[in-house]
Amino acid sequence: MTCREAQARLTAYLDGELDGSTASAIRGHLRVCDDCRHAAEDHAAIRDSLAGLARPEPPPAIWDGVMAKLGEAEIADSRRSRWSRLLHRLRPHLLPASLAVGACAAAAVIVHVRQDEPRRAAPQAVAPIDPAERGATDLVPPPAPPPIPPVTRDATIELAAETERIDARYREVAADLLGQAREQLGEKSAARRRFDREVAGLERAVLAAPAGKARDRAWHALITFLERAAIGELVAQVRR
């Protein structure tokens, strides 16, 4: 095995994709060739460092786009007639089948022509093709397909995402304020217990409220209470 042959197969060798005899030949070459061995070590190091990288998650927009395109393809499928769907399903097999039919037909024509040759007249002159016409046929590009508008995220999904965003903001603010309010009240006191009971009640109201106006209002009630507690306004009341 030459260096050129060995280096062309290094990646496949390191990935364990070669058959036993080729892998053995490369192993043998690497034992005797310093350059190829160093090249193999470099390949292995790069591969290991790439494997250590975190796999980035695709942004949700890509997934939405993929799902939307899949949905569109399914919708297009569902709108096809039964014959169209059958044709679509058979399309991969149509080319070989038509080639085979064509070959058979050509063979039949040849046999037929040979049998009829003595009876046939001299071939007719074929009219020459006008170069201008031919050029026009070949050079004019086919009409461009209509532009496909970009697939967008639907408004219903965006509205649901907006609700989730707002809910997440409520949770974040409430968590921040809860910490500040508890700092005001200390760990163990009657005021703290009353405060915790009040907060628990307001949290239950948030959980029980249906999404929409009722839940928004429940969140505002909880956050208003926590804000006053964080400021120290409610703490004095609770202590009283």
Partner: protein, 333 residues
């Protein structure tokens, strides 16, 4: 005719965008009356459809109008009549999306008119981005009707009504002008503005500012988590303004026996008070306390009296605090 049947008729009318009215008004409820239909038109690469509808009272006057529009703006204006007139303008990228956008009207026999917008699932139709569609509602209501409104990213404006309002917004702005009666407003990241309000205000914004101009009610209670509060010409008897991370700047008149409490946890507090009688002022600042009273130690409460003693009951009290910021107090007499 059952309530469900009436709902379906009215919803279908508005959804179709044509004559948005029930054929025969139910006897015990406000009756939608036909109005001039305007079909969808294509304009600037979008399809726009305008529909109008009038709801007249039946046995009971219209006492309350409840609107929920997550797809655009709401503009409510009071008028001297007794009917509710609704103009809806839908914008969509194509006719198929326009068909998905619905405006539903439910006139209840108890005198409440409910108006809701929504968008149906795309199902087999091409998805449409939220930014490419909207429904804007302009509603004229009797002045005596109470208004309840809710928007998502759109703006919510209420003007010239006398029975107050309850308003909710997500990222949209709330604007209230020339309103009497109690007003309650909540927003997440939208600003709120109140102008010429002659009733109590209870406003809460999470990530938005609250602006107040000419407010004369029994109580003004405004609270923000991360935003500023700015007010002028405030003459409520009880003023309570709270901010966690924002600044508060307010010019107010002290009312006899009134209370002014202005507190920011991390922001600055700047209060100008016009007082008739004597004011008992209590202040604490984590930063600098700027006032005409004695010098203060940062973080400690300090009390002082301002102004001339007036008639009995004309004195008021003021409490100002910023735990980590500056506090400024100016008396105007």
């Amino acid at each position: 005719m059952s309530r469900l049947a009436r709902l379906l008729i009215v919803a279908a009318g508005l959804a179709a965008g044509g004559v948005a009215a029930a054929d025969s008004p139910p006897p015990a409820s406000p009756a939608p009356a036909p109005a001039e239909p305007v079909g969808p038109v294509e304009r600037d690469g979008e399809v726009v459809e305008r529909a109008e509808l009038t709801v007249a009272p039946s046995k009971r006057p219209i006492r309350s109008v409840v609107i929920d529009n997550q797809l655009g703006d709401i503009k409510v204006e009071g008028h001297d009549g007794d009917v509710v007139s609704i103009v809806s303008v839908k914008h969509a990228p194509d006719p198929a999306t326009l068909e998905r956008m619905r405006v539903t009207l439910v006139p209840d026999p108890d005198g409440t008119v409910r108006l809701t917008t929504n968008i149906a699932d795309a199902r087999e139709r091409r998805p449409a981005a939220l930014a490419t569609l909207r429904i804007d509602l302009t509603i004229r209501v009797p002045r005596s009707a109470r208004v309840e409104g809710r928007v998502g990213r759109g703006s919510l404006e209420v003007a010239n009504v006398d029975a107050g309002a309850e308003l909710d917004a997500g990222a949209g702005k709330i604007a209230v002008r020339n309103v009497a009666g109690a007003v309650r407003a909540r927003s997440v990241d939208g600003d709120q503005r109140f102008e010429d309000v002659f009733g109590s205000i209870e406003a809460h914004a999470i990530d938005g500012d609250v602006a107040l101009d000419t407010v004369r009610g029994a109580a003004l209670d405004a609270q923000v988590y991360d935003g500023d509060i700015e007010g002028r010409h405030i003459a409520s008897r009880e003023v309570r303004l709270y901010a966690i991370r924002g600044n508060i700047r307010v010019a107010t008149e002290s009312q006899p026996g009134g209370v002014i409490v202005v507190t920011s946890l991390r922001g600055k507090v700047d209060v100008h008070v016009r007082a008739i009688g004597r004011l008992a002022v209590r202040a604490r600042a984590g930063g600098t306390l700027s006032w005409a009273g004695p010098a203060a130690t940062p973080g400690r409460w300090i009390d002082s009296q301002f102004g001339q003693a007036g008639q009995a009951g004309s004195n008021g009290s003021v409490r100002l605090e910023s735990r980590y910021g500056d506090v400024a107090f100016t008396l105007l007499q």
